[in-house]
């Protein structure tokens, strides 16, 4: 878990390979190794593992805030929602302590314990005998249902935490919604995330039950020269996603937008936590790909190639809607204008988007089931995601989208040190009931 006061880059990232090793890209890496004579030491074999020099990258587990929020997205993400099977408050404490222990190990890496081969191995073995952190973050959040009568947490519920209610364009599938607890896994490769999930599933069968899971990716780009501005990754509609995100390295901005502050209207235990909104949004990509470019662009309000607003040249240029009150240049109902009208009032509705693209197979009619694993963080769920999404209700983009799952959760404050553990402040608050 990284303190927002610290750098968000991985411990081992000084070599600036951040963009290079965007892991989805195992394949891309292997390919580049072959095409680059300097790197190709001997002929590679078919079965050889793709090479990555980022497997030792890791994030500190301890910090004021959990990592995986203002941390730059690696190439692979996975959101897993669980039902908590713990019987009571004491059992819930056992859950959090065990989870703390597992996450600490997985994010740090290390040797897997060898045991009597007559017994099942303690680790799935996916990453070999030594677990590599591979840039892994595991972010723990809790749903409104955790605050029901089971654990005596009723009085400790964050003020705005509710079970997600469907928006008009939603077609929510119950099996893909809500949950008592979510774990957001992010790392360089899907395999590292899967290894971590299987570790937790194996170690906590009596405490956690997987409710739904969605994996996603972020497409990698070639490294930029230092003089070139950073570019946001693209979603499966081919547009840059998150161009208008607040600066995740600006601690002041993050305190205002993302982190619940001490002394706020929220329960004291929730300070340094954040609200997590998750949406599984299917994209009708065949239909989108049959839509004229200029229409795609006017629906979004941005140029597709550069990501720039219509009155700018780069994606980070800020559109000036004052000069376009009737929406002649940027439609009034375009996605970016509704989402962020750039008024003084709408500054209160800023959110930090941290989405992944998902691809799940094929629907019955032969259409591709893919879209966005939307994840965003904010200090106030009502002012943040709910207000933004409400403004977007009825937007023209809806014709190409169908949200079918997700939920609202509260991301717990970070783990300060070895004496602390994830969820401790929540458990203590509920004991004293003066949260």
């Amino acid at each position: 878990m990284s303190d927002s006061k610290n750098s968000n880059t991985p411990v081992d990232a000084q070599r600036r390979r951040v963009l290079m090793g965007m892991g989805a890209a195992g394949v891309a890496l292997a390919g580049s190794a072959l095409s680059c004579p300097a790197m190709a030491a001997g002929e590679a074999q078919v079965a050889e593992a793709p090479k990555s020099d980022k497997t030792q990258d890791r994030h500190d587990y301890h910090g004021m805030h959990q990592s995986g929020i203002v941390t730059p997205r690696p190439a692979a993400g996975m959101m897993v929602a669980f039902d908590v099977l713990a019987a009571d408050h004491k059992d819930l404490e056992r859950l959090f302590k065990l989870l703390d222990q597992r996450i600490k190990f997985l994010m740090t890496g290390g040797e897997v314990q060898e045991i009597d081969p007559k017994l099942p191995p303690v680790d799935s073995g996916i990453l070999g005998p030594v677990v590599t952190p591979d840039n892994l973050t595991i972010t723990v959040s809790v749903g409104a249902s955790l605050f029901d009568e089971r654990f005596g947490l009723e009085h400790a519920k964050p003020k705005h935490l509710i079970q997600m209610v469907g928006f008009p364009n939603d077609a929510l599938e119950p099996a893909l919604c809500h949950g008592d607890l979510t774990l957001q896994f992010c790392s360089n490769t899907p395999d590292t995330n899967i290894h971590a999930l299987r570790d937790i599933v194996k170690n906590m069968p009596d405490l956690l039950l997987v409710r739904w899971k969605q994996e996603g990716t972020v497409p990698a780009q070639a490294p930029k020269k230092p003089s070139e501005p950073a570019e946001s990754a693209r979603n499966f509609l081919g547009f840059r996603d998150g161009s208008a995100n607040p600066d995740s390295n600006d601690n002041k901005a993050m305190d205002a937008i993302v982190w619940v502050q001490p002394g706020s209207e929220e329960p004291a235990w929730a300070a340094n936590g954040s609200y997590q909104a998750v949406r599984l949004i299917r994209n009708f990509v065949e239909r989108w790909d049959r839509t004229p470019l200029q229409e795609q662009e006017s629906i979004f309000g941005r140029k597709k190639i550069t990501g720039a607003p219509f009155d700018g040249t780069t994606e980070h240029d800020v559109p000036d809607y004052h000069k376009d009150p009737e929406g002649k240049l940027t439609r009034l109902d375009s996605h970016i204008r509704l989402a962020n009208p750039r008024t003084p009032e709408s500054q209160a509705n800023l959110i930090l988007r941290r989405p992944f693209n998902y691809s799940n197979g094929v629907n019955k009619n032969g259409q591709l089931d893919m879209g966005l694993l939307f994840i965003c963080y904010q200090a106030n769920l009502e002012k943040g995601f709910i207000t933004v999404q409400t403004r977007l209700n009825g937007e023209p983009l809806e014709e190409y989208l169908k949200p079918m799952g997700g939920g609202y959760f509260f991301t717990l404050p970070g783990v300060k040190n070895d004496q602390d553990f994830i969820g401790r402040s929540l458990l203590q608050a509920s004991k004293t009931k003066n949260a």
Binding site: L85, K118, L119, P120, K202, P205, D206, L207, L209
Partner: protein
């Protein structure tokens, strides 16, 4: 049923078992008694399966739909309880117990036979018509199974490992209610699997107790929880409610102990020193 250890070894064919199947330490001989007891249990369950399958298939051939439906679940339960042994004969397991989703062509697949094929006609098509051949085949397959099991040397690792295998069955197909998708009689199978696992655990408990008493306590507690929840759905005639009656909270409450039993019992072979 009391026999001398040597007679047991002979009658069970254990003397033919490869020596390596047993751990090198002297506790290996401790396993002879429980394995012979397990064979007695399996034989007994198979006898019941044989008798009841005869009655079940007779009812079908007589065209008595209601009687056949009544006998379906209580008959199957004896198969479910001994699955670790029954599954050793994969051809019979497929023809007796395969489910519709094991067949690409679904209910029309020619090799879709056995309990679930009959279940489909009895509960979904609501008829006994045209099932004579399927009924005869099931009856013959069960008899075949009895003969083959009688001549089988029980492999110790399959017997001990069967406890975990049965709980894996529950976790994978019973909790979801997909096993008996037409009759919704999953709770019978559920109990059959759990009873079968518990039987194995009970037989080897004395050996494990010596090595890991805390393990025994934990496993017994989880079996207790499962039994307690299942008992809520027992009907007056000794049967079970249909699976759709099981409350969501109870389904959820079953999953933790079931998964934990599968996890814990997967160490039983190792704890007994079996390869």
């Amino acid at each position: 049923m009391k026999k001398s250890p040597l007679a047991l070894l002979l009658s069970l064919g254990l003397l033919h078992a490869p020596v390596s199947a047993f751990a090198a330490d002297n506790s290996a001989l401790d396993l002879v008694q429980p394995i012979s007891d397990y064979k007695i249990y399996v034989t007994d369950e198979l006898d019941k399966l044989g008798t009841q399958t005869q009655a079940f298939t007779d009812a079908i051939k007589k065209g008595d739909l209601e009687a056949a439906k009544k006998l379906y679940a209580p008959t199957r339960v004896h198969y479910e309880s001994i699955e670790p042994i029954a599954e050793l004969f994969s051809d019979l397991d497929a023809s007796i117990d395969s489910r519709v989703d094991d067949h690409e062509k679904g209910v029309t697949a020619e090799d879709f036979t056995g309990f679930h094929r009959l279940e489909y006609s009895l509960y979904s098509e609501k008829t006994t018509k045209g099932l004579e051949a399927l009924a005869d085949k099931l009856n013959n397959d069960v008899k075949d199974l009895q003969t083959r099991v009688a001549g089988l040397t029980f492999p110790p690792e399959k017997v001990v490992g069967g406890a975990a295998a049965l709980m894996e069955e529950v976790a994978a197909t019973k909790v979801s209610g997909e096993e008996d998708r037409y009759s919704h009689t999953d709770l019978y199978d559920f109990q059959g699997n759990v009873d079968g696992a518990k039987k194995i655990f009970e037989l080897f408990k004395p050996q494990v107790q010596k090595k890991d008493a805390a393990f025994v306590t934990k496993v017994e507690k989880n079996f207790g929880t499962v039994d307690k929840i299942l008992a809520k759905y027992k009907t007056k005639d000794g049967g079970y409610e249909t699976y759709d009656k099981v409350k969501d909270a109870d389904r959820k409450a079953l999953i933790g102990p079931v998964n934990t039993l599968a996890e814990d019992l997967s160490t039983l072979r190792g704890k007994l020193g079996l390869n």
